[in-house]
Symmetry: C2
């Protein structure tokens, strides 16, 4: 019968579920190195036979599996705690087999204990050991064969044989050679990315090297940008991130404030990539060359940081790809290439790739080679511009292929888009994603959003990176320039999420003038060189430094999922606890999201979860206060008053 | 690159989720005919292009899909309400394509409205219509071609062409020919079983034809059994179900009370199948022959009922299969066949099949042919004995293959086993399953169990059948013989679950003497002929009749998922509401699970869900009371007193 072909009919074991898991081929689950992973599988068969379940893993792209027996739990569950030894993209599976020898042995022991006749059973046991001989090799095979012969030898003492047949020694060796021929393996195989520490915890600092000459006229270079590294490092940042550093196109170049009529000396947008000096694998000549770029990469490292580059897969009209690979673009009947548009808006300086091209294999390969090129140059971290406007399955392939070879690579998805698309990119392999943090502007919606990110399956694949501002986004909250807002939003971003970033120096000097009617900066650095006063009066560098120091010193702030919200009786307050699994480090953050007026109220602590008795006094040390004031608290309800003129937040370390 | 082979790289649409669904190949979701199914899918692509999503279905085993466009909802969701026209096993999928013409048209209209130049855009539109010409045929193709030519004809009036290009007429026809070449289809295809009414709502009555001679000596026949049909039908049952009717094996036959030393005239267990008179396709000669069986099937039908048979895939040692297909059994070194055992217990009268046999294809085919054989004889309902001791994937194949041809077939799984195995069988295709109802003996655990069965995804694939007793199970609750217990347990079973069954006449005459120390009947009919007094004094036939009548008359009782528990202040009370979707029929059941003492308390009604205002008076008519007393109630909290000496329950119909 045809319908039988789909079946491996002799396989009686079912492997029905693996947790944690996303049961889609190639969907990526993420875990940081150093955190044991608790796997749970549902494995069962018909009848009364015992079942064995095995957990297997291998690096993606390799052949051989490493296999570990799982622990049988009640109710057909099997568990395993696995602590991966190194980062990498892994394939994960669970398999199950009927344990014929174990089943036989359990019955045999019961029968012997009940005083039953077991002569035939003993012969069955010997036969089962005989089958194990065929699966074993070397010394073990010889040993098993000897045992089989002994057990089958009717001239030997019956009682001795019975005792030996039921012994742990026999079971132990037979167990090592399960009958894999009727094994069932879960489908599809799951994918797990074990990530390095900087993938799950890092403070990003974005700045434009173009403005580092700081006179607003001369174009900044990598060498100019390097001069800023000591103070960025001193503020406690881990990653410095540059907008695209490639040649900028000339035709349709945008002028200041996104003007369609640029002056001849306008520098254009770094995201309009490519020109006569090359494309995605070239450096904008005004920034420097590969030599100065190499110096810059080394300088970043020497300050204990890493460099992130912006990869934006789009082309200016004079990008070499357009000439060399016209088939990668969509052509209009008038012989021009289709530019980006969101009617009636037109972006004639930007040509998107046509991912429906029949030459998609070469296009994919070329785009992937851009990452490989910069990895070769020492860059392991990429902020990917608008990935949701490029083919989704391209990303799945591209990122996973790169991570097979470079598991240390980190990809931050700049996908400000609808949730299903954003989360899909997380499952495709993006390490981190930008979020809706910016638009969560009161305590209740912020809490709801964080619960979605940390308490649902989303946390298994989407790691947020919270940005209070970007060159594209100056939220209305910040347009007031209020110090408390800038401090408070950074405290929220940097303590709710272990990945955080700002666009500086705009953020720390509280640049806040919007383009009229827009959620954008006026005189945006995207289109012009800026003259920044990096130490403008009223800046919040000290506060940022204190927050980043708290992050460095407190492991509880180095993860995002370990979050518990605390109830409070003031709706402006948002209060949350972050804990290490062993509770040796506990941080309680309280932020008043009223940026203008003093608020007071009570915070209710989950004392039991904190390991505190209700009558025990404890200290809370404010890490956002340079004097590190310690308050004495007791019981679950404690009073807090926050005045934005002094500070919008406490970052309390619990002191026992 | 090798890794590219797994990709259909030009396909930009993702179909990520289909709800309701079990995302495993061949897992069966169930719905009754007549209930619209609300499908929801997540479909999206990169960029700004519009996407179209299609729902498709076909009968399993056929080729051609029927396809319906889904409705776009916010946030990348697409929905469709589908009301299947007939029962059957369906394959279900969702597909998505980029809507190039629709995307173009939306932009074109915006540009026209903004007064932009659209001459090139008009040409692009004409080209897209030209592509649709290639996908269409006949008149439509000719029409599209004419339109394309008109739009591309620069000698024609420009404004007219623009107006026509954006018209609904053009969009409507182009929409009918989507570009399927870059279509994405969800994987795996899902399976849905649309079931007939008797699959989701039926009252089963199990009895042994062997005892229908009613003198305890002469072996009953099908003709004797037929004499009981009028009264079974009068009690309101829908299905009569017989234990196996096949020849019973002679070697190792069990005697009365499961004795290993039978008398020569002992009749043996009907589950020890097969002997010199044949096996699973033969009739036990003492019951009758195919002619009298045929008469019985017709007699059942003439009473408006259907016959269910018990299919038990196991063999007595003298079953013909053992001789003819020794390879289907596991042989012991002493040349005997391995019998069933649960050490140290032995069941030497029962030989299980070895589903690991290399001849599994023939074994599977033969077992399936047993069902086909009895379907041919007019039986469409099967109670399957211990399916969890046979290979799980065999059932998946067998049931789905049968349902492709006989969608009216109903399979009740007698799997008293652990939840994961029980539920897997539901997903494999079993229509119904026995449950843990018998062992849910107080109001709280009963409610918890029903919430699992009705409020979780379990309800999508596991349809319970509640049995207060079976020939194997006489729960301690019933061993007292208390009338209230027998009535109350039937009320619970028959109103909580739309599928219900009893083993009679033991149940209605309150047979309740256990085998000492066991949860089983003494002098069990499984091993001997019984002399039943079908109308013994104190029987509960009238109450069962009232309950079954209430089920027949009230659609709200004909489903299981439509259940809402009501709060009560008496822990012995269990109270629940069942409603039709339009609320024209609402039943409130209150059972006091104290079978001995009167209890009183308040029931809190979900008035809003019932469509009742808090100040509106309404009637509750007790369908369990032959006088059909109507009480006047008002508001959400109402008083109930239940005295088990009168009745342990109310089955209230809400009367507005």
């Amino acid at each position: 019968m045809n319908s039988l072909r789909a079946y491996a009919g002799r396989r009686r074991v079912l492997v029905d579920l693996l947790i944690p898991s996303i049961p889609r081929p190639r969907a990526v689950l993420k875990r940081p190195l150093g955190e044991p992973i608790h796997w749970r599988a549902h494995v069962f068969a018909d009848g009364h036979d015992l079942v064995r379940a095995f957990f297997r893993f291998r690096k993606a792209g390799t052949e051989a599996w490493t296999q570990v027996a799982m622990h049988a739990e009640p109710n057909d569950e099997y568990t395993l705690e696995w602590n991966p030894a190194e980062i990498g993209l892994y394939e994960i599976a669970v398999s199950g087999v009927i344990d014929h020898f174990g089943s036989w042995r359990a019955g045999f022991i019961k029968k012997v204990n009940a005083g039953e006749q077991v002569d035939v059973d003993l012969r069955i046991g010997a036969d089962l050991i005989g089958e194990a001989v065929d699966r074993a090799a070397g010394e073990d095979a010889a040993k098993l064969k000897g045992w089989r012969d002994f057990l089958a030898d009717n001239d030997r003492d019956f009682r001795q044989r019975v005792e030996f047949a039921r012994s742990d020694e026999v079971a132990g060796l037979v167990d090592r050679y399960p009958a894999y021929d009727l094994e069932t393996v879960i489908e599809p195989v799951r994918t797990l990315s074990v990530e390095r520490e900087l993938a799950i915890c890092g403070a990003w600092y974005e700045y434009f090297p173009r403005s580092c000459a700081d006179d607003g006229h001369r174009h900044g270079t990598f060498d100019d940008a390097a001069k800023r590294l000591p103070e960025i490092a001193a503020m406690g940042f881990d990653i410095v991130y540059f907008p695209p550093i490639h040649p900028i196109g000339v035709p349709f170049r945008k002028g200041k404030n996104n003007s369609l009529t640029p002056d001849s000396d306008d520098v254009g947008s770094p995201w309009a990539i490519g020109g006569e000096n090359g494309g995605h694998k070239a450096i904008h000549p005004e920034l420097g060359d590969f030599e100065s770029f190499g110096r810059f990469v080394e300088a970043v490292k020497s300050h204990g940081m890493e460099l992130a580059l912006d990869i934006a897969f789009q082309c200016a009209p004079d990008h070499p790809y357009v000439r060399e690979n016209p088939q990668w673009f969509r052509w209009r009947p008038d012989g021009t290439v289709q530019y980006a548009e969101n009617p009636p808006k037109k972006y004639q300086d930007i040509l998107p790739f046509d991912f429906e091209t029949t030459d998609w294999e070469n296009l994919w390969a070329e785009l992937k080679s851009v990452f490989d090129f910069w990895i070769e140059k020492g860059v392991k971290i990429f902020r990917v511009d608008n990935p949701h406007t490029k083919s989704f399955i391209f990303w799945e392939w591209c990122i996973q292929e790169i991570k097979k070879v470079h598991p240390e690579a980190i990809f931050l998805a700049e996908a400000f888009t609808r949730p299903k698309r954003k989360y899909w990119l997380g499952r495709a392999g993006f390490t981190q994603g930008y979020t809706y943090f910016t638009w969560r502007n009161d305590a209740r919606v912020m809490r709801e959003y964080l619960e979605e990110l940390t308490q649902t399956e989303v946390a298994d694949y989407f790691w947020p990176n919270f940005w209070p501002n970007t060159p594209d986004i100056l939220h209305e909250d910040l347009q007031t320039g209020n110090r408390a807002t800038f401090i408070g939003r950074y405290v929220l971003a940097a303590t709710l999420s272990s990945n955080v970033g700002i666009y500086g120096p705009a953020y720390e000097i509280r640049d806040h003038i919007p383009f009229p009617g827009k959620e954008e900066y006026t005189n945006n650095e995207k289109y012009e060189l800026k003259r920044w006063n990096w130490t403008a009066p009223g800046n919040i560098r000290e506060e940022i430094t204190l927050v980043n120091l708290a992050r460095r010193e407190n492991p509880a702030l180095q993860r995002t999922r370990n979050l518990t919200f605390c109830e409070t009786d003031n709706p402006y307050f948002i209060a949350y606890l972050k804990q290490t699994p062993d509770r040796t480090n506990q941080i309680l953050v309280v932020v008043s999201m009223d940026w203008n007026w003093a608020q007071m109220g009570h915070i209710t602590l989950p004392l039991e979860q904190m390991g505190l008795g209700s009558d025990r006094e404890f200290g809370v040390e404010d890490l956002l206060d340079s004097r590190r004031t310690v308050y004495r608290w007791k019981g679950k309800k404690n009073f807090v008053r926050l005045d934005p003129r002094r500070s919008p937040a406490h970052i309390f370390r619990i002191v026992l």
